[in-house]
Symmetry: C2
Subunit: 184 residues, 2 copies
DNA sequence: ATGTTATTGTCAGTGACTGACATTATCTGT
DNA sequence: ACAGATAATGTCAGTCACTGACAATAACAT
């Protein structure tokens, strides 16, 4: 049922756009009532954000299983490497979805919130590895920024694999932050 | 009028919380109609997010005026230094507002969106300095993460100034990303 | 005083979302 | 196959965010 609703929503959003599609229409297309729609999804946006637990699970377990002697930055890199498969497999599904989100501020807000909760999960896993509170959040945000950068470059330039772009992104973060402001 | 509405909203949100306060109540407390409220603010959340242009302006002009030979990381540091005053002066107003936002997912989403548009502005200013497209976004995100970290530490430990925390945050980013994943 | 313009009030309407309760599957043990 | 429990769905009424259209009023220039 959830799948049917998600499918109907994707198609309608694709045709009329997110704001011009009512929840009742989605429900009707799926053959149910509007009320049923809101029993499956907390709100209209949520119908597009449902596969995110998989990524979170992979990242968290990868962080837990990473060698204890690894620092947060290397641990994050390993975690993202472990999630590479997920991105590659979902690419064809993720791209149209991304275009939808781009066109609607409301959806962008929700996407940001989802990313934020992913970051919070990463930070929490880093804290369990002994990283201090705020530093864990900082590292998680840096890592997520690097991941996003890698994915963006990967979308632009498919000739290299996501893994290559990821390693490059991590290097870029190091190089960008290499100078010492406040000293010079 | 905007001020009156914002003031009324702040008080009501403080008493009953954001979700339990209706736009009509805010308007009534300010002595106007609900319709007038929505003429001044695009939506109910926006009443709490209105002073953000000041920060954006300072950062952008600081980035434009920074010496051209400075790399993105140092330029960002200078920009944040230029905005320090703004944070110090608004601290007493920002703290209760922050507590309100923390308590409401809807407000958190909006706050994230505002931060995002700030980051986008930074990235755009960096591009004008010659930083390539995606790298500009990456650097802007890193900088914003550092700034957020500095502010968080500053809230926790007021004994040092925000400037000190900022320099420390930028150092932390460098140190965290210093290792070379994929090599070891 | 008169015309202009910006701000507000009024009203009717749409659409997201919720609570309460009835109805209908779906499943379980016998 | 049957009765009873459990879960998913339908129905309905209602609240609230938000919008468009138009009237009323205030502020201001001429």
């Amino acid at each position: 049922m959830r799948r049917r609703l998600q499918q109907a929503a994707l198609e309608l959003f694709g045709e009329r756009g997110y704001e011009l599609t009512t929840a009742a229409e989605i429900a009707a297309k799926a053959g149910v009532t509007e009320r049923t729609f809101f029993r499956h999804f907390a709100d209209k946006r949520e119908v597009l954000f449902d596969g995110e637990t998989a990524l979170s699970d992979i990242l968290n377990s990868a962080l837990r299983e990473a060698p204890a002697e690894l620092g947060p930055w290397d641990a994050l890199f390993r975690a993202f490497e472990a999630a590479e498969r997920l991105f590659v497999e979902n690419r064809s599904f993720a791209e149209p979805r991304h275009r939808l989100i781009e066109r609607s501020p409301a959806l962008q807000e929700r996407a940001l919130a989802k990313t934020r909760s992913l970051i919070a999960g990463l930070a929490s896993a880093l804290r369990e590895r002994g990283v201090p509170d705020h530093a864990a959040m900082l590292a998680a945000q840096m890592g997520m920024a690097a991941l996003g950068h890698a994915v963006a470059c990967w979308f632009d330039d498919g000739s290299s694999g996501l893994g290559d772009h990821l390693a490059q992104a991590f290097r870029k973060v190091r190089d960008l932050s290499a100078s010492s402001p406040g000293i010079g």
